[in-house]
């Protein structure tokens, strides 16, 4: 088990290195000069440009730049950003907190909405409720978040005025982006919960539990729910990893000051250190969450052996 974790963490390092390397190469071959975006539209003194290029090491060969980057990354330093000359760590830190807040809220909506809807649908199979759940969740999965976000904005902000249009970081302004993120996910959670529960309901061991004369509620909580919830947890863990990596579209629609929005802004201004920083972080978080899901999976299902 300990060895398994160590090996998985080793894999994490390799994947993060690979991801940054690919990204580095991509940004390197991109047309345009990153220095051109520094300091606005004014024509610049060639001497200044030269100095800036030297400062950021942009004249070094790709390999040298990459090695320098990795050296810093090893110390947890994501480098220095182009536009403000500030440390990327410092810039991203509050945005990470914002994204994490949004992710946690969204995942809570997810669990409550998705699980209850899915479980009820499975228990009332073929009822009107079940059929409408199947219909609505399929619809929700198919609609892109940009559409959901804008519909919510139109209705709850413009028509009803319940929530602010531009987010100010308050809880009230977080509700709509969190719901937007949660709707698609909760629909998937509901579908997974429904189908696994239907499968478990038919399982032989549930019949055994009935034949043992256990009370209905015991059968439901101990024998049905526990087995049904395992695939849901797997999905939620991976989904949470994705959410923590920043929601580009939703954060942009609601102007939520998280790393998704930061990434979009950085791409528009060719602020390469931010781009690499955000992606490196997202990749690492995603892999870490996957590891946690695997460990949780083994804890919940004794048949899974980690090796």
């Amino acid at each position: 088990m300990g060895r398994y974790v160590v090996r998985r963490l080793g894999q994490l390092v390799v994947v993060v290195l690979g991801a940054t390397m690919i990204l580095f190469a991509c940004l390197f071959v991109l047309p345009g000069d990153p220095v051109g975006s520094i300091g606005g539209d004014k024509a610049r003194d060639p001497a200044v440009v030269k100095e800036l290029r030297a400062h950021y090491g942009l004249d070094d060969p790709l390999v040298v730049q990459y090695v320098h980057y990795v050296e810093k990354l090893g110390k947890g330093d994501l480098g220095e950003d182009y536009t403000q000359g500030r440390s990327v760590n410092e810039i991203l830190q509050p945005k990470l907190v914002n994204t994490a807040k949004l992710a946690v809220t969204a995942i809570i909506f997810d669990v409550i909405l998705g699980l209850s809807v899915g479980v009820l649908a499975a228990m009332r199979r073929y009822s009107v409720w079940d059929v409408s759940v199947t219909f609505l969740t399929t619809l929700a999965v198919g609609v892109p978040s940009i559409v959901i976000g804008m519909i919510l904005q139109r209705f709850f902000v413009v028509e009803l005025g319940w929530f602010p249009l531009i987010s100010d970081g308050s809880f009230n302004s977080m509700v709509l982006p969190a719901v937007t993120l949660a709707i698609i996910d909760a629909a998937l959670v509901a579908q997974i919960a429904r189908s696994t529960m239907l499968e478990v309901l038919r399982a032989d061991y549930v019949k055994t539990a009935v034949a043992k004369g256990l009370p209905r509620r015991t059968i439901l909580t101990r024998h049905i729910m526990r087995n049904s919830v395992i695939p849901v947890i797997t999905y939620l863990g991976i989904s949470f990893g994705g959410l923590l990596g920043g929601a580009l579209i939703t954060e942009t629609i609601f102007n939520w000051d998280g790393i998704g929005l930061a990434l979009i802004t950085a791409i528009q201004s060719q602020n390469n250190p931010i781009i690499v920083g955000v992606v490196t972080y997202s990749v690492a978080v995603f892999i870490l969450l996957n590891l946690i899901v695997d460990l949780l999976y083994a804890a919940l299902d004794p048949r899974i052996r980690l090796s």
Partner: protein, 349 residues
């Protein structure tokens, strides 16, 4: 104590004279998209304390469905008991509310299933699942239930029970898993055990061990045992009497040893002929021609007629009742019956 509880308690103490379990004219139907499947069509059988009834038949003959109806664990919907009575200690349990049926299950009547691996919950330890019996029916604490679980595992001779009580189903061998299922069934010393193909999923050598264990436990506590199987070989040593089922009906009943010597129904005859024998090495194995009937459209008359070598016109029109089978000279053959118009020709040649 609620009245429900006392009613359930009273079952098991009343009617000491009659049979432990009596199934009367039981009909079970399943609603399917293509119509109503009649899985059980008027089954009658009885089991007394200490007696073993073997119910024989191929898949779809209704033998398991009858058992599930007795236990009250039919998948319903779509399944339902359409007609009939199930008397347990003389009381019709089909008339009891579900809350009382539940108290009988596991407590007074228990069931052993075919595939122990899928019948045990994969994410709960076997000790926990054994202990659940005591916690649900006797209100024992988790700790005491675990002690009882270890005792039970000892009783069914699982080695190192104390160390293995926390293990999971997948960590045991097939034979040991089936022993755990047996332990679960005998946990509360029920009056009746229904074993649904308890050895089908096991190796032949392990089959014998498991059957011996089951028979031994039954003798010790004088339980009634219904042994559901399609394997005539398993039955011979353990059962007292046999009921052969076909298309949801009992087609032949007999004390166990007589049926091997002198079957009184063509279907039983076919079953006996299809047992592989060592002295027939090299010859093609006999098989009853045709397929088991479609329960949505059971043939008219005798359901076996399309596959029967002896079938006459009457077999296609009249459903044969269960005739009392006698010697050729009219001498009694207790317990024997055959639902064949030509039972005399079948048994006496």
């Amino acid at each position: 104590m609620t009245t429900v509880e006392t009613a359930a308690e009273s079952i098991g103490t009343t009617a000491a004279g009659g049979p432990l379990l009596e199934v009367r004219d039981l009909h079970v139907e399943f609603k399917t998209r293509d119509g109503v499947a009649k899985a059980v069509n008027g089954v009658n059988y009885s089991v007394s304390a200490g007696e073993t009834l073997a119910v024989l038949g191929e898949s779809g003959s209704g033998k398991s469905v009858t058992a599930q109806a007795i236990m009250g664990i039919l998948d319903s919907p779509p399944g339902r008991v359409a007609q009939g009575e199930i008397l347990f200690h003389g009381q019709n349990i089909l008339a009891l509310p579900e809350s009382e049926r539940r108290k009988l299950r596991g407590n007074k009547m228990a069931m052993i299933f075919q595939d122990a691996l899928s019948s045990l919950n994969p994410v709960l330890s076997v000790g926990f699942q054994l202990g659940e019996m005591f916690r649900a029916h006797q209100g024992l604490s988790k700790k005491d239930a675990k002690k009882k679980a270890i005792e039970l595992m000892d009783r069914v001779r699982i080695p190192a029970a104390k160390e293995r009580v926390g293990d999971y189903a997948h960590q045991f061998s097939g034979g040991m898993r089936q022993r755990i299922m047996i332990a679960m069934a005998i946990a509360l010393e029920p009056d009746l055990i229904i074993a649904d193909e308890p050895t089908t999923a096991l190796d032949v050598t392990v089959q014998a061990q498991v059957m011996d264990l089951l028979a031994e436990l039954q003798r010790e506590s004088n339980m009634g045992l219904i042994l559901i199987t399609h394997d005539l070989g398993v039955v011979a040593d353990v059962a007292d009497k046999i009921a052969v089922m076909y298309a949801g009906r009992i087609v032949e009943t007999a004390p166990v040893h007589e049926i091997y010597k002198r079957p009184a129904h063509p279907y039983t005859k076919g079953l006996l002929r299809s047992i592989p024998r060592l002295d027939q090495k090299g010859q093609e194995l006999y098989a009853i021609k045709g397929l088991p009937p479609n329960l949505l459209a059971v043939p008219s008359g005798c359901a076996f007629n399309p596959r029967c070598e002896m079938a006459q016109d009457i077999c296609r029109t009249d459903v044969p009742p269960l005739h009392t089978v006698t010697e050729a000279d009219g001498g009694e053959l207790p317990g024997r019956g055959s639902a064949c118009h030509f039972w005399k020709e079948t048994i006496h040649g």
